[in-house]
Amino acid sequence: MDEELQPVFEAVARHREKFGVYPEFDGLFPKISLIDHYVYEIDKAIRMNKPLSMIEKRPSEFNKSDVFID
């Protein structure tokens, strides 16, 4: 698993280096088929100079405890 996640580790490290915080993903994480997606989103956040927080982006109804994400 770790070898598959290597690109994500590197992207997360870049995010931490740039913003000093971890990127935040929602739901079950990590999903193997989303590795490209994670790297893409992290690098997009770095390019846009805005830390990645999918928790912050999600609709407020997701914060209710009767909603189960992924």
């Binding site: 935040e24 993903f25 994480f29 992924d70």
Partner: protein, 631 residues
């Protein structure tokens, strides 16, 4: 012109990986000696100001529909859900489909990209939202559908159901506790929270930084946890150990044997708890290593669309739940989250705060609030996700990950099997709705279903108090805030705002009711709520009348099914519907309003609801809202 050497043919050049160097080359050594305009790079220079892009192009989504296959016990999810049926026919077992087919179908909504969630309170049987175009869509749909079954199995089969959501997974809890304790994943943390309550804590997270963790003395567990950001739970654990050691030295200096013994005991207890946290990290590492071997084999032997490569994360998430999400705090505090030294973050997990009462995010004050405000809420997330993750493994054609999980977590495995066997045999008392898909259902279908309702519903309305029998189901509307009290004490005349008719009429606050108001007909109650309380958060409660007597509510002139309890006579007991008579409750929502509109619209078209076809002009509809025709 300066001549460049051919770097690529130099020994060792291919092994160099330096984004900084690459960027400098791409930008033409800007800022270095020499003018890049004079250098022959062999290609056009990028436009100044552009930044290097990493991570490649945006990931592509699959649009391919699952193949049509002929299977035993094909999935039946109702009209408009053929795509989802096809996913189940292809990717889950026959037994799993049998379970699916025995129960009503939730609303299913397909979305683009990787997304999925389940909302128990949206729609009569909840709502499943799932990706329809991602390669792992079979996995995510199965996962979400098992959340739905957690909700539906109990609601549809339990005649004493109180209408509470996500109750089926409750029966998993003892087995979760048993396995977690046996493996040392869960343990008593009383000393931790007792310390915070007795002493509070106040320290700088990083001596050079500005952030201070401050928890007031006297804070209970919930109050303490809601102050914690990701990682803080472990930072506090470490500080507690340091502080208790200092306190022990101080106590020793006093030479007071009582103080010394007390401080020693506290330090030892905190140390023992610390050690348990560390020990469980090692346990999870070992399990993860073994699971990774299975994962690699699964990847080699399965197709991506089967979603088997997600079963590794599904298993990891169960361990995240069993450890209350606290291993993640250790990772955050030790700065190894999502690195090769990560434990649960590289196995499978939900977000910070998902399984406990801490804050969910490091970002933004508005979104950093906790998800759960009590231990019941945290436990609900833990059992619900364990149920759904195990369901994904159980329903999978490939049994290897489930077999491994069963070896590690035998009690959960046994209980989950028992629950699925029970689901296959239990008497289902609800109608198998197999409702059309929300996205394909149109308003005409909805109004047709109303038109198709037998007229006997209206002709058998109870309009006389003497016709109300102990088993008669009646409906009461109340402020949603009162639901807890109603479930605990039943319907009484003492609770504020149980008097639905007067609710909200007093400006600020609600006045105490002297009677209980109710309807013998669901549609009347629904109409009342949509008409008079459309802007409030109200709940409809269904209950059996029992021995309570009723009189007509004459003030409700247009509602023949409106009743109230009689004026209390001196010395007699006040009106009361005991909690055991309450058969269900749910919030009034847009679906109710839509049903009222549709019924009103049909009546307005002359002759009313039961005699004329309604197929001309516009019919009221809301996107993705299904008319609620029943309780």
């Amino acid at each position: 012109m300066r001549k460049c050497i051919d770097l690529e043919s130099q020994p060792g050049f291919q092994q160099i990986y330096s984004p900084v160097l690459q960027q400098a080359i791409d930008r033409g050594l800007e800022g270095h000696s020499g003018d890049p305009k004079n250098i022959d790079w062999g290609y056009n220079l990028p436009i100044p100001g552009t930044k290097p892009t990493k991570g490649g192009p945006k990931p592509k989504k699959t649009q391919k529909d699952p193949p049509k296959v002929v299977v035993k016990d094909p999935a039946k999810l109702g009209t408009g859900n053929q795509f989802w049926e096809s996913l189940f026919d292809n990717y889950i077992t026959q037994d799993a489909r049998k379970v699916v087919n025995r129960f009503p179908t939730p609303i299913i909504k397909g979305v683009s990209g990787w997304d999925g969630y389940h909302q128990a309170g949206a729609g009569e049987w909840g709502t499943v939202v799932s990706s329809h175009n991602h390669e792992g869509r079979a996995f995510i749909f199965t996962h979400e559908y098992w959340h739905a079954l957690d909700n539906i199995i109990d609601l549809a089969s339990n005649p004493d159901s109180t209408g509470l959501h996500m109750q089926s997974s409750l029966r998993l809890v003892p087995s979760m506790e048993k396995d977690a304790k046996r493996l040392g994943l869960s343990f008593n943390e009383k000393v931790y929270y007792k310390y915070l309550e007795d002493n509070g804590i106040n320290f700088k997270v990083d001596p050079s930084g500005n952030r201070t963790i401050r928890i007031k003395k006297g804070s209970n567990r919930q109050q303490a946890e809601e102050q914690m950001y990701p990682g803080d739970h472990w930072r506090i654990m470490e500080q507690m150990l340091r502080q208790s050691k200092k306190d022990l030295h101080k106590a020793n200096a006093t030479k007071d044997p009582v103080k010394m013994a007390r401080a020693k005991k506290l330090h030892e207890d905190i140390g023992a708890l610390y050690d348990k946290h560390i020990a469980r990290l090692e346990t999870i590492r070992k399990i993860k290593k073994e699971a990774a071997v299975i994962h690699r084999k699964l990847k080699q032997t399965s197709q991506p669309e089967q979603g088997y490569n997600h079963l590794f994360s599904a298993l990891g998430d169960i361990f995240d739940a069993l450890t209350d999400g606290r291993v993640q705090d250790w990772e955050y505090a030790n700065e190894v989250w999502m690195s090769d030294k990560g434990v649960i973050s590289t196995f499978g997990r939900h977000g910070s705060g998902y399984y406990n009462m801490s804050r969910q995010s490091d970002y933004g004050k508005q979104t950093s609030s906790p998800r759960n405000y009590n231990l019941d809420g945290a436990m609900r997330s833990k059992r619900a996700e364990t149920w759904a993750e195990w369901g994904s493994m159980w329903a999978s054609h490939d049994n290897t990950m489930q077999a491994f999980a069963s070896k590690i977590l035998p009690s959960i495995a046994k209980q989950f099997d028992a629950e699925m066997k029970r689901a296959l045999t239990i008497k289902v008392i609800a109608d198998l709705n197999k409702i059309p898909n929300a996205s394909t259902q149109n308003a005409e279908n909805q109004i047709d279903s109303i038109m198709a309702n037998p007229r006997t519903i209206e002709t058998t309305l109870i309009t006389r108090p003497e016709d109300i029998k102990p088993d008669t189901i009646m409906y009461h509307i109340t402020d949603s805030k009162n639901v807890g009290n109603v479930l605990k004490y039943g319907l009484t005349t003492k609770n504020k705002a149980v008097n639905s008719r007067l609710m909200g009429q007093m400006g600020s606050g609600y006045r105490k009711a002297t009677k209980i108001f109710a309807w013998s007909d669901f549609n009347s109650a629904q109409r009342y709520a949509a008409r008079s309380h459309w802007d409030k958060d109200v709940t409809i409660i269904a209950f059996k009348s029992g021995n309570q007597t009723w009189v007509k509510d004459e003030l409700e002139k247009f509602e023949q099914t409106a009743f109230k309890t009689p004026r209390k006579k001196k010395g007699s007991k006040p009106a009361h519907i005991p909690p055991k008579n309450i058969t269900g409750y749910r919030k009034i929502d847009k679906g109710d309003t839509l049903n009222v509109m549709l019924r009103g619209d049909a009546q307005a078209r002359g002759g009313g609801l039961f005699t004329r076809q309604v197929n001309e002009g516009k019919i009221p509809h809301w996107k993705n809202v299904k008319s609620r025709t029943t309780f």
